[in-house]
């Protein structure tokens, strides 16, 4: 027992959970800790210590690392519902476990057969009253947790009122990246890859679908995940309330590079620029409307001979077959197999579905041999020389 307190108090995790592992306190049915310690079977003691350490470690998130994708620090009311039920059931579970563990441990200590005792204990076959009690109490608990849960199910699937600003985006999973098509509002017609940009405190409708196999779009801090199933169009309703950049990734096994199918949610401020923390660095986020205007514009024209050379290579190496660069290469036909729209790829935070930080070196590395970064990548290896890859990367990085 003494191990418990320091482990929990040393914890940097979710503070609201730290107190919860204190269930075996004075009110618990266990006798005082010292007596238990003294009378425990020798082989039981390490188990109890191990259990307490594990409880503190696992539930309180006590490894000391920061958790940038913590599912229980949500930024939307939809995420709040999940977290509410997590907290509720966590306390309930710990209470039930404490009762079971207390009876269990007490029985193991108290009712062990003494040396030389060869008599039979009383042979009673059960107790109807007890059976009724331990059927009825769980039934009441189950009813008690099910009723609010049903309310939560319907609340989460409620379409936002039509009398407010609603931003609708089609979310398409593709092996192995995410494509976002903005369907209304000022951003109508925009296409982005990997990064979904939305304004804060605004109702968002995401229509989930897929171009190939089943994926699931999951930004842990935003809300729960939803499958993106080919042939289906399942809406998700969220209203993010915090400005910032939030990482996530595909949560449904979708093939070789499933692990590298990352995505980002960028929640912009409505009016003024805002500075946010992202991966330990300060990043300035422009207002949503500025972002929309910037992205609705045509791609930047090559401003130097070096960039011009990259644009020429981009064209010669058949890149425009799959990639649109607005105002320069508009020939690509939208198809399940087409690649990301690269009109403003230079302004992205990450490339290759959130696998690499966006900079000219990483872009060149990615273009030179995609399959070396993402196994099975649908972008072909074009056998570019390092110079060619560098030139194309320079061009793409200039597309701010």
């Amino acid at each position: 027992m003494p191990q418990k307190a320091p482990v929990v108090s040393a914890c940097h995790g979710n503070s609201s959970l730290s107190g919860s592992s204190d269930q075996r306190g004075p009110s618990s049915p266990l006798p005082p800790a010292k007596q238990i310690g003294a009378s425990l079977l020798p082989w039981l003691r390490p188990l109890v210590v191990l259990g307490l350490i594990a409880v503190a470690q696992g539930l309180a998130g006590c490894s000391g690392e920061v958790a940038p994708r913590n599912t229980h620090t949500p930024i939307s009311s939809s995420g709040d519902i999940s977290t509410f039920f997590y907290q509720m059931l966590l306390y309930l579970d710990i209470a039930v476990m404490a009762v079971v563990a207390a009876i269990w441990a007490y029985a193991l200590v108290k009712f062990r057969r003494r040396e030389g005792d060869d008599t039979l204990p009383p042979q009673n076959h059960g107790n109807m009253k007890l059976e009724v009690i331990w059927t009825a109490i769980p039934t009441l608990i189950v009813v008690g947790i099910t009723v609010p849960m049903l309310a939560g199910v319907f609340q989460m699937s409620k379409r936002p009122d039509a009398n407010q600003r609603i931003i609708e985006v089609d979310v398409t999973g593709k092996q192995w990246w995410w494509e976002f098509d903005y369907k209304n509002d000022t951003a109508n017609g925009l296409q982005t890859a990997t990064e979904l940009h939305v304004p804060v405190n605004t109702a968002i409708v995401l229509n989930m679908t897929s171009a190939d196999v089943i994926h699931a779009w999951w930004i842990p801090r935003l809300a729960g995940k939803r499958d993106a199933t080919p042939g289906r169009n399942y809406p998700v309703y969220v209203t993010p309330r915090e400005v910032g950049i939030f990482d996530g990734q595909c949560a449904e096994l979708c093939g070789a590079s499933h692990a590298l199918m990352g995505t980002k949610l960028v929640v912009h401020p409505l009016a003024k620029d805002a500075e946010v923390d992202y991966q330990g660095k300060k990043v300035t986020l422009e207002s949503y409307e500025t972002w929309v205007q910037h992205n609705q514009a045509d791609a930047a024209k090559p401003a130097s001979a070096e960039i011009e050379k990259g644009a020429k290579l981009f064209s010669e190496r058949t890149c425009p077959t799959c990639h649109i660069i607005k105002g320069q290469f508009d020939t690509a036909i939208r198809a399940p197999t087409s690649g990301p729209n690269l009109s403003h790829v230079g302004s992205r935070l990450a490339i290759a579905a959130n696998t690499l930080v966006n900079n000219p070196e990483n872009l060149a590395k990615w273009i030179a041999k995609p399959s070396a970064i993402k196994p099975g990548s649908k972008m072909p290896d074009l056998n570019l020389t390092p110079d060619e890859a560098k030139a194309i990367a320079t061009y793409l990085y200039s597309l701010k």
Partner: protein, 614 residues
């Protein structure tokens, strides 16, 4: 006072056998003895347990640190897929089949199962299915679509290689094997009980086996249909799961989980039965609330067919379906709680001793409770949207399947090894195994709760160093080393005890039920005489209750025993030929002739089967 020695006085029965039994290898190939088939299942299950564990060890090494490159992409996905498929279908299921085969007839006082040749057919079909599942490694490829095989990731377009073909073919044979076994054991338990063994006197282990055999018989058909549709999609170009041609990939999910959830109860209920047999023996008390334990098992079996949608809360079934499945799932907590409290009630007021089987049975209770309680979280649809396909779910089902199902099977292994081999296993090595395994499984699976809370999805082969998942993953991999060491202790224990273990005798644990009145190992006819049963603990009452002794007849019984047969192996071989032809349909010309020949073999050998005198 009556004792178990009374049964040694009984005379050997007089046999009627159509053909004398074979010896050596031919005996093992043609046997219809449920005990030998049980040993075959158990050996296969233990071997596959090692293989599945090795696969887990390999991919845990890859996840030990961020950004590693030991196993990437579909190699990693293949390891994960084969780990799960192997553990579920080729390790835990055959271990359950081993206990079912070996002990159901002994528990109910029967001489064999109702259809001994059908039993042999189940075994060979299982064996061929398991070999086919693993055969894709010969082509340097693992099926890599997850054990759930979600369409259209299993389509020819997404996975053009042969691995998925081996996967569906293997699983189809396993499905046939399980369905046949289900029917066989339902008939056995309902019809072959000893005189006086009313349904409420059937031991809880046999009861749980009865429940799961119904589950097998009724839950495998949906997935078999799903697999055959997949086979048609891959081999003949049909479009059941192809959305651009009007199919629907979600059809697979419904067919799979309509099987998949009852399957979860197939995996856990036998271990609950084993624990329900072991706790009373080492508490020296009857099982507390035996009827409640039995009825809660039946209830779980029924409701288990109405909860499959809780695997699909993120799939977009709509709020009505989500609500219904969430509510039915929450209901499962009630009978499960009843069982747990009845086990605690069995311990309470007993006189407990702690040999290795009891240690496993006792640790089963809190380990399974942890898994059950996190299951209550998943039943909550809004919360499950966060936990689904995250490591939290991985933690949940490993607590249920490792802390629960597997520990229960280990308990059963240590408990019943003396009956199967006539020798005791080493207690010291057993305790080493127990502690290493218990510590290891908690080190591995407990931090996974935290990983899930921290947003780590399952089945990813790598993760970035800045996501906050490093420490938990490191600890989880350390835990696997402990579990591996524990399993090695088990293997060493099994191999050495087989030869050098202490001789067990009929009733080494001072147990309660009929299997312990026979010799260890039991002779081919199981019981020298047909036991008459007066209570739910016939052997206990024989030893301790005046007037309830099992009468030992003075005359030898005249009995008929089934003869060996080649026919089950022939029919299984025909089935193997059919699926081999189908799975190679697109790559080998005229291979469909093999399927055709397989059909002929099946029909011919079924004809020979029914006309063979037994």
């Amino acid at each position: 006072m009556a004792s178990v020695a009374d049964f040694a006085q009984a005379q050997q029965p007089v046999y009627h056998m159509e053909r004398p039994a074979k010896t050596g290898l031919v005996d093992w190939l043609t046997t219809v003895d449920h005990k030998k088939i049980g040993i075959l299942y158990g050996t296969a299950g233990l071997i596959y347990l090692l293989i599945g564990g090795l696969e887990a060890l390999l991919f845990r090494l890859q996840l030990m640190k961020p950004d590693q490159n030991l196993f990437v992409g579909d190699t990693y996905n293949g390891l994960v897929t084969m780990h799960a498929t192997t553990m579920v279908f080729l390790a835990v299921m055959p271990l359950i089949a081993a206990f079912s085969n070996y002990f159901v007839p002994l528990l109910i006082g029967a001489r064999d199962v109702a259809f001994p040749r059908l039993n042999a057919f189940s075994w060979y079909t299982f064996l061929f299915g398991s070999l086919i599942l693993n055969a894709s490694i010969l082509f340097a490829e693992f099926p890599a679509a997850g054990w759930t095989g979600y369409a259209p990731l299993t389509s020819r377009g997404a996975h053009p290689g042969m691995a998925i073909d081996f996967w569906w073919a293997g699983l189809t044979l396993l499905a046939v094997s399980s369905m046949v076994a289900g029917v066989n054991f339902v008939v056995t338990i309902l019809n072959l009980r000893a005189p006086g063994m009313t349904l409420m006197r059937v031991p809880v282990l046999a009861w749980m086996m009865l429940v799961i055999q119904f589950l097998l018989a009724f839950s495998f058909p949906p997935v078999a249909v799903g697999l055959i549709l997949l086979a048609f999609d891959r081999s003949f170009g049909t479009v059941f799961y192809q959305v651009n041609m009007g199919g629907d990939p979600q059809l697979w999910q419904h067919l799979f989980w309509l099987f998949g959830h009852p399957e979860v109860y197939v995996l856990i209920l036998p271990s609950m039965g084993i624990v329900s047999e072991i706790l009373p023996v080492f508490s020296r008390r009857p099982l507390f609330g035996q009827h409640a334990v039995i009825f809660s098992g039946i209830f779980i079996g029924f409701v288990g067919f109405g909860v499959w949608g809780h695997h699909m809360f993120t799939a977009g079934m709509g709020p009505i379906a989500d609500a219904v499945f969430a509510a039915t799932t929450a209901v499962i907590a009630i009978p499960t709680g009843v069982k747990i409290f009845n086990w605690l009630g069995t311990l309470w007021g007993g006189k407990l001793t702690f040999p290795v089987p009891m240690m496993f049975a006792i640790s089963f209770i809190p380990m399974f409770t942890i898994g059950g309680l996190s299951g209550v979280m998943h039943a909550n649809a809004p919360l499950d949207l966060q936990q689904h396909d995250s490591y939290f779910v991985v933690a949940h089902f490993h607590y249920v399947l490792v802390g629960g199902a597997l520990q229960g099977l280990f308990a059963g292994l240590y408990f019943y090894f003396p009956k199967i081999t006539g020798r005791m296993m080493s207690e010291t090595l057993g305790k080493v195994h127990f502690w290493l395994f218990l510590i290891g499984s908690n080190l591995t699976f407990w931090p996974m709760h935290d990983l899930g809370n921290r947003g780590m999805p399952r089945r990813i082969y790598t993760y970035p160093a800045d996501a906050g998942w490093n420490d938990d993953n490191y600890i989880a991999t350390i835990g696997v080393f402990f579990m591996t060491a524990g399993i090695l202790a088990l293997v060493y224990n099994l191999l050495t005890s087989l030869k050098n273990g202490k001789v067990a005798g009929r009733d080494p644990w001072d147990a309660n039920t009929l299997e312990w009145i026979t010799e260890s190992p039991p002779r081919v006819h199981n019981f020298d005489f047909t036991p008459v049963v007066f209570s739910e603990r016939p052997l206990f009452d024989h030893k301790h209750t005046e007037g309830l002794e099992i009468p030992v007849p003075s005359q030898p019984e005249q009995i008929h025993m089934p003869s060996y047969s080649w026919k089950p192996l022939w029919v299984s071989t025909g089935a193997l030929m059919v699926v081999l032809g189908l799975l190679m349909f697109t790559v080998v010309p005229f291979i469909w002739l093999l399927s055709l020949a397989g059909g002929v073999v099946i029909i011919g050998s079924v004809y020979a089967w029914v006309s063979e005198p037994v």
